[in-house]
Structure formats: C-alpha cells, structure tokens
Symmetry: C2
Subunit: 338 residues, 2 copies
DNA sequence: CGGCTATGTGTTAGCGCTAACATCAGCCGG
DNA sequence: CCGGCTGATGTTAGCGCTAACACATAGCCG
C-alpha cells in the first residue's frame, strides 16, 4: 500500500507519449477514444498509461473543453433524514453518470454567506449547481445572487426561477389524509413542518385540500421545526386546543415521535384514542410504540430524477415536465378505524 | 435574478486588466493580496473585478500552483446518523477553512468500485482524501489501491496505514457501561454493531473491558447492522438467551429503538425490569418510550478535528497524537438503579 | 500516372492563471 | 551627478491538456 503523504509529481501526457514512442496528441486521442488510431498504437499507449499509473489532469482538460464533469450541490447540511437522503441519492446517481459532486453547506441564509458558499462551488468550475432548497429563506437569500451556471432546484413548489424537481409532497399528504378519512376520522389535526420549508407547505396544503374536499374542518395546524422536540411541544398544544380530535397527521416521522410522546403523556393511547400518520418512513418508524403508519419516499429515485434534470438542463433540452413521484402509504399500527 | 441556463463566457483576468488599464499580472497581484501595488491601482482593479463579476478560474490557478483547495471525501453514503453527521460536520469545517469538498460514495466494497470512486476524486485534483471507513471491507478493498494524494482516515482503531481520527468510541462505551454498573446492574448484555464496523468493534471492546475490570461476565453479544430492525431481532435473541439480564447496552440508538420494541413485546418494562443505554443521542432519543439514556457525540468537533488533521498532513507537520474526543453520557429515563 | 480521398500521426496554439524575470521610474549617498 | 537600491509595473514562460491544422503514406480512380 502506498505511503501516506507522498506527493510525487504525477506523470503527464508527455511522459506517456515518450514511453509509448508516440506524440502526446496520439496519447490524447487514445484517452478520448478517437478513431483513426492504429490498434497496435492504441495498445502501446494503454500499456504506457498503466505502467506510469497515468491519470489525466481534469483541471487541465476542463480548461480546454470547459467541461469539468463536476456538479455543485448547495445544502443546509442538516442531518435530517429527508435532506441527507436526498444528498446521498443524488451523489450516487451522479457517480453513475460519471460526474463528481462538490458539496457546499450554507451555514445560514444570509445572502453573503450563501454567496460565499456558491463562490466556492463556482470556483470549482462546476458545470451546474443543484440547490436543495429545504428552506424558503435560502430561496430569498439567493435573490440577487448571480449564477453563471445552469441551476436546478430541489423544491416542490415550482416557485423558484429554475427548473425544479422533488418528491410529490402534496400528493403524499393527500394520501395520508385520505387514509385517515377512510378510517372514519373526521377531526384530523395537522402537525406542520416549519413554515419556511416548502416541503412542509406542500404537505400542509395536501392535508388542507383533502380535508375541505371532504367537507371537513381543517383546524389551524401547529408548526414545528421537524425535530422530535418540536413535535412533542406541538402535539401538546394541539391536544390542548382540540381535546376531542381522533387523528393527527404529522409532517414528518421525527415530529410524530415527539407527538406520540405528548399523546402518551396526556394519557391517550395510540391508535385506540388517537391515530397518527407520519411522513418519511424513517427506519425507526416500524419499531416505535406503536409502529408508525407513514409515507415512504424513494430517495434513490429522486436522486436519479435530479440527475436527469441536470443532464437535460446542461444539454439545453426542452425540459420535459418533471414527474414528481408520489410517496407510498405504509400502514402500520398507529392508525385504526374509529 | 439571473436566468437559468445562460452560459456566458466568463470574464478572464485579461478582461479585468484591460478595463482597469493595467497588466493582467497586476490584477493577479491584487487578487492574491501581494504587496507592492499602489492603493489607487488596487482600487481600480477591484472596481473592474466587481463590474465584470469576475471570478478567478480555480482550474487554471490549480494548474499553476498545484493547489486546488478541494478535498475529497469517500463515504458509503449510508443515511445513518453517525456517518451523515460526520460528513456534514466535516464539510462545514472545510468551508470555514476555505476548502471545498468533493464527495464520492462507494457503492460497494469491491476494489474496482472503490478504485472508480477514488479516480473520480483524484481526477478532480483533490489535495487530500478523507476516508470515512465505516466498514472494515472498505479498508480491505482499499489495500492495493494507490494514492498519489495525502490520505486521512476517519476510523477509531489506528489499524489503517494513514493518519486517523475519530470519536473515542471505546471511551464512550466504557462510560455507558460504567453508568449501568454504578446503578447496580451485573448482567449487562450488549447489542453490538456490525462486526465489519470498526466503530462497533471499539464500542464492544469498551463494554467488554469494563465488564471484565469489574469482574462481571460479558455474555457474547448479539450483532446487528445498526438498523432498528436488527436491534429488534437482536434484542429478542438476547432476551431469549439471557432472560434474567437487567440491562442492555446498545451500540447505537437506532438499534436501541428496536430493542425497546423487543422488550415491550416480551412484556418487560423499561427501566423497571431492564435498563437500556444507547449511543449517538439521535434527536428522537429524548422522546422515545421511555426517553433513552445515551452517549452524545459532537460531530462538529469531529469535523474540525478531521480538518485539522488534513491540514497537518498537507503541511507535513509532525502529526500531533490525535485527540479522540469522548462522548458525553446523557442520562434519561431508560436506566434506573436496581 | 497525376490527382484524389482516407487514414494515421505530428506540430502548434491557446485555455486562464501565477512565478520569475525584466523594466522603469524615483530616490539616496558618496 | 552617477551607481545602486527600492517599489510599482509589464513581459514571458509554462502548468497539462485538446482542437485545429499540417503532413506524411497508402490506396484508388479516370
């Protein structure tokens, strides 16, 4: 195994050329799979490449053809299940497409800070930037920021000025609410995600629309910040305001965990007294007390959808209307017919 | 706001030079903060830079001074709390140090696949590679892979041939076990992480050593894969094997969730019959039934520690013996004196 | 058999930048 | 008042690579 900090000068295309006894341009042709190179020559070059452990310098290559095969990703770096799964789904899809991904985390939503994060990406000559717009302020902070690069947003509303893609949070919320209505619930409360989150807004909208379409009253939701603690606090307030409610739709599983805590504390049992539906299907969901009914999202699919949109944008293809995949309802023990 | 896919040719240093009425080299000097430039000239250049929205091409800069200000990160891309928090802690620390981070996910532990992931990073001219060695196979798969780049490993054993850093999993596990022993428990079971995980191995070692130092029998642990489901299965098996045990130390919180499920199912209550300690302090821990006693890790600190080690390695500094920070015991309701 | 294309290969220029050297003022002391 | 110094600038070369062109050689047609 190689030592640690050795920084030997890499072999260049000229070293390879000399060893193979050809010109550097012929080496370049072999590297880039051009035709019009004799098979024998091709073989000689490949041998020299292997022998010298030659690896093309992508910075040099990028300078010439203005393609870095590098994509930028701007995120808030929150360890929440949704955003972090989105990131790993996308990096995987990018790797499959032979792109590397440079990540930049926005420490806050200040324009200056966002600008700095973006500068870091743009400086790395990314071909496109993927914005994971988990919070509305990020979008606002990005107003006035100039992009010299194609941009793709991961965001459900379509409000951003860029081509966007995301999970169909609205549709997922509708399915969740439908499930509760079908079970006979009428007073269905909503524990919403932060109002600055577009995902949360879509989920709330899905709940509200479904309620009103069934002629049910949608009590004003309580807003959390995705965290279990906020779900606990929000759950308590919701119960205090509407003691007769029989169901809660939580905008994510983490808040649902907190909500279950609050319900337990108030002496209510789930699902006998109150049914609860979450959103995300975190791995824990199955093992909570009680196992949580929730909406499962396919993040690998999302990652591939993002990549597809990036590729379409890069090739200036007429962006096909994005397919926003709908989460799947996973029924467990936290919901019951009333 | 800028349009989406416009790909205007960027201004170069020559454009700035012409506008400011100086030579490109003077622009370069201003950009790099060299002395020996008149303040008036400096100002002219800065104005031209602003006016043209000029942004230096880091690829070109990297070619000349062989510094890309870009670091590579190789990870498995698992959405587990530990690894993903490590990644976000590190990207944050890197940003603070004005480095960008290019992420590559290893799809599997095959040498060929690892090699491909690394090639992607090395191709991006990273100055150093950070390996998040969550699994032993990755280390094995990396045998024989050549690095032309300084490498830093995030790994607790020190078994890898590179400078390494990590949380002190061993110490954390000792604290967790000590806590249970102090509460009077004698038969303390261990729900271990996957045997291919070095973090898991360290945590198990900490538990075993502490047990034996107190003259207690360390029953062979059951091994999970970090997931709640494996914790559930493992918990069941552990209970079946040792029905009289009064405490369980789970190698992470997620498995502890599954273990709580198994305990509940077997009719045992926590902490009355059995005490449980987890590891990680995931945000949910506080709101589980019962709230979980666990070991909290500081991932931002870890991110900074990694960055420090990277910087030391890059500057060929005599690597100071790494400080491995010890997790903090957070006592909640899942443990009780017996 | 001169001129044609097709095929393989080499040569040159230039991507945007910085290091190193060159230049040219202005200033000082002898 | 000249050699040498200092500070501010310009000029040149070259990082590693690919596109574009140049140039051989071979094969084929009229």
């Amino acid at each position: 195994m190689a030592g640690s900090a050795q920084r030997t000068r890499h072999a260049t295309i000229f070293d390879v050329a000399k060893l193979a006894g050809v010109s550097h341009q012929t080496v370049s042709r072999v590297l880039n799979g051009h035709p019009n190179v004799r098979e024998a020559t091709r073989e000689k070059v490949r041998e020299a490449v292997a022998q010298l452990r030659y690896r093309p310098n992508l910075a040099a290559r990028a300078m010439v053809n203005r393609r870095s095969r590098n994509l930028g990703l701007l995120t808030t770096g929150s360890p929440d299940y949704g955003p972090s799964s989105t990131v790993s789904g996308f990096t995987r899809a990018a790797r499959t497409a032979k792109y590397s991904v440079t990540i930049s985390t926005a420490v806050d939503a200040e324009p200056a800070s966002l600008q700095a994060s973006l500068d870091l990406l743009l400086g790395q000559q990314v071909e496109a930037v993927v914005l994971v717009l988990s919070r509305m302020e990020i979008l606002r902070g990005l107003q006035g920021v100039e992009f010299e690069t194609p941009v793709v947003a991961v965001e459900p509303s379509g409000l951003s000025p860029w081509p966007s893609i995301s999970i169909d949070h609205y549709g997922g919320a509708r399915l969740a609410t439908d499930h509760l209505i079908e079970l006979g619930h009428r007073e269905i409360l909503h524990l919403a995600g932060p109002s600055n989150s577009m995902d949360a807004t879509e989920r709330s909208r899905g709940w509200r629309d479904t309620m009103s379409e069934h002629g049910l009253v949608a009590h004003p939701p309580v807003t959390g910040d995705w965290s279990p603690s906020s779900g606990y606090l929000g759950g308590r307030e919701l119960l205090c305001r509407h003691p007769g409610a029989t169901a809660v739709f939580s905008a994510n599983d983490q808040m649902a965990v907190g909500c279950l805590h609050a319900l337990r504390e108030s002496g209510r049992s789930v699902p006998e007294d109150v049914s609860v539906v979450g959103f995300d299907d975190v791995p824990e969901a199955e093992h909570l007390e009680p196992p949580l009914t929730t909406m499962r999202q396919d993040f690998f699919q999302l990652g591939e959808d993002i990549m597809e949109l990036v590729l379409a944008t890069l090739s200036d293809a007429p962006a096909a209307p994005p397919v926003r995949h709908v989460p799947e309802l996973i029924v467990r023990a936290s919901t019951r017919r009333r």
